[in-house]
Amino acid sequence: MLKFLARGTALAAMIAASSLAHAETLRMWGPEQITEPLVAQLWNGIKADFEKANPGATVEFMPPTGTISNGAVQAAIQSDAGPDVILTNSGIGRISVVKNAEQIIPLTDQYEKRGWKDKIYPWLYAELKGQFGGEIYEVPDGLDALGIWYHKDLFEQSGWKIPESWSEFETLMKSIEGTGLQPIAIGPRTTGSAGHLFGNLLQSASGKEVIGKALRREIAWDDPSVAAGAIRLQKLVEAGYIKKEMAGLDLDGASRLWFNKRAAMFVAGPWFTANARKAGYDLANAGYAPMPSDIKGAAMPTGGVGWSWLVPVNSKQPELAMKWIDFMLSDAVMKKRAQDPASTMIYPREIPGVEPPTPVLKDIFAAAAGGVGYNPSVYLPGTVLDTYFQVIQGLISGQIGGEEGMKQIQAKMAEAK
């Protein structure tokens, strides 16, 4: 009997030891709103599905302390106790910061090996291939489409409509200002928020092609054709349509102004649905339209790759990280996320037969169906971004003119490698 017990115990210990040997923990940085119950519910479901599909694997979420833009991702990687896989705000500007610092690994071979190139839009794959001489360092998780959010009820009551042309848009802002409301809220203390409105204005004033050329350095940023958007912002501030005091607001402060209907419009992307939900705003009342433009076809949302998966060079579980990304790109997970009420973005490939969970997302998807323009915040080199955001703050606080501001951005572009 004693022998039997001893053998049983030894066998149990062996099984336990063997399962421990196979136990793998994947530490994942993200998602951003994991502390929100609805978002947590979705992600915990995905985690459970992944763990079921990969016995012995455990996924551990690390709530992000920031992004690449504020150095949080870099610091987390450098700590060597950081994540094995990262989901963060991306775009070539941000990715080049961590790529140049040799903090993330190239994933180009995985695109071939795991067929990821067929799991994202062909134009997106082509764009990624063209960024670092053929090497790809990110796997897009979501795309951004920045445009004007407005209150449907307020606009209906006042007989306002987002117009087609810029001059009509100026008239609309004058009319809104006359009622005592802020025409547009912006929180440039949060750099991303500053870039959202500014990118929209650049696109509206110059069109996608010109901004694309400026980003590829085929045309200078202080060229009048590019600087027109900055001058537009300067004029909006001078006219009082954007208050100088807004320069002291961050994204939360500006959002608060919009959610409380003290501001009529706000420039944001699909992710703003999460902010709205958190603020208790009725999403059925949110309308969305691209920034008006006098250039034919230029009235389109700006954006690009908004969020991507990255694998740090010091990932303790690189293979598991690849499996996780593979899993996230699967049809099942894509559909699950796209249909979930916590959904806040445009996915990197078409998902047929899936209805966006909120009407405003439906509007955003429709506006972005014809493509999106550039949001320079995600395309500019990291060394230029700081100047770019400070110039926007300078324009809003009335410290600098549009032409001078663009000269400063161009000077930084010339310095950047």
Binding site: S69, N70, G71, Q74, A75, I77, Q78, V97, V98, N100, A101, E102, Q103, Q182, P188, R189, T191, K243, K244, E245, M246, A247, G248, L249, D250, G253, R256, L257, N260, R262, V313, G382, T383, L385, D386, F389, Q390, V391, Q393, G394, I396, S397, Q399, I400
Partner: protein, 331 residues
């Protein structure tokens, strides 16, 4: 009590040679001396022991202080795009770049203004409140605690609280001004280029003044009461007592508070980082916030290292000047 003189026992000579007050005391000294004589006691041995006792502290000091200083100097002569990249020697290029960078000069000026503002606002408020609170009899403990409480709050939290107070549309300050009929005085506290540094400094000083107040209260309690009695006999009024007794009596504490406030002022970072991130358009940029942005956002570690050295030099120069001034004052 014959003690054979050895080089080691000389070190203990004063103790051994001291007259024994009681028999057992003499016995202990003798035993100690004997042990040292019989053992490995020698100047070399003592030095070795001292070295090994200090080794852990020295190692920590070397790894966490000297090595980073050396690395910063090395980095300042190199170009490095990030943590894992191999740096390349660029000579004094980073120093030249720093000298020609207008934001460096701007942030340097802001750092001086910030420093002066912190000393005056936090130190000054600490002194005023100490004078007021120390006169209270029954409620002193309550007010002392209440005024010290902000010091227990993290600077980052202070930044968030004050950013909300300063919110131009919903903030407490502008709302209060409007409610009491002073709407004309509402401002964009964090957007007005002329105000932003001051506004953030107020928040930072609010967090810091409690400690200085406590130090001043301790100083006030040490002033000899008979000095007040003496000047009262001479017919001095409250203001004269302040000028001729209280402030001279606080001189030592004041120099300590000023030096502490200067150190804290130079370290100013968190409130600026949280409330404005150096903006709008660099109007609240300090050397510290610029270093952070260069190192962690722009990945220009070389230039950031130069500014770290500049900040250290600044601290050294200010400390030397202040110490000389203090020495002259106490002569």
């Amino acid at each position: 009590m014959a003690i054979r003189e050895t080089p080691g026992s000389k070190v203990m000579a004063p103790l051994s040679a001291a007259p024994a007050v009681a028999g057992h005391t003499g016995g202990i000294s003798a035993r100690m001396s004997k042990r040292r004589t019989a053992g490995s006691a020698s100047p070399d041995g003592d030095a070795r022991t001292a070295f090994w006792l200090m080794a852990p502290a020295l190692a920590l000091y070397g790894v966490f202080t000297l090595l980073p200083i050396a690395a910063t100097f090395w980095l300042s002569f190199n170009s490095s795009a990030g943590f894992n990249t191999s740096a390349s020697f660029v000579g004094v290029d980073n120093y030249t770049k720093a000298a020609h960078d207008p934001i460096v000069w701007k942030s340097l000026v802001h750092t001086f203004i910030w420093l002066a503002g912190h000393v005056v606002m936090a130190g000054g408020l600490g002194l005023l409140l100490a004078l007021a609170v120390s006169r209270l009899r029954t409620t002193q403990v309550f007010f002392r605690t209440a005024f010290f409480l902000p010091h227990l709050v993290s600077l980052a939290v202070v930044g968030v609280i004050w950013a909300n107070i300063y919110d131009p549309f919903f903030g407490l300050l502008n709302t209060a001004l409007t409610r009491i009929g002073l709407g004309a005085f509402t401002k964009g506290w964090l957007s007005d280029p002329a105000l932003v540094l001051f506004s953030v400094n107020v928040a930072s000083s609010w967090q810091g003044f409690g400690l200085y107040m406590l130090l001043f209260i301790a100083g006030l309690q040490n002033i000899d009461r008979s000095l007040y009695d003496a000047v009262e006999v001479d017919g001095a009024n409250a203001f004269q007592k302040l000028i001729y007794v209280t402030l001279p009596g606080l001189r030592e504490v004041m120099t300590f508070v000023v030096s502490l406030a200067m150190i804290n002022g130079l370290k100013g970072f968190a409130t600026v980082f949280v409330m404005t991130n150096g903006g709008p358009f660099y109007q609240s940029e300090l050397i510290t916030t610029y270093i952070y942005r260069l190192a962690f956002q722009s990945q220009d570690h070389g230039l950031a290292a130069v500014l770290c050295i500049l900040l250290s030099l600044l601290a050294i120069v200010i400390t030397i000047i202040f110490n000389r001034w203090r020495a002259r004052l106490s002569q």
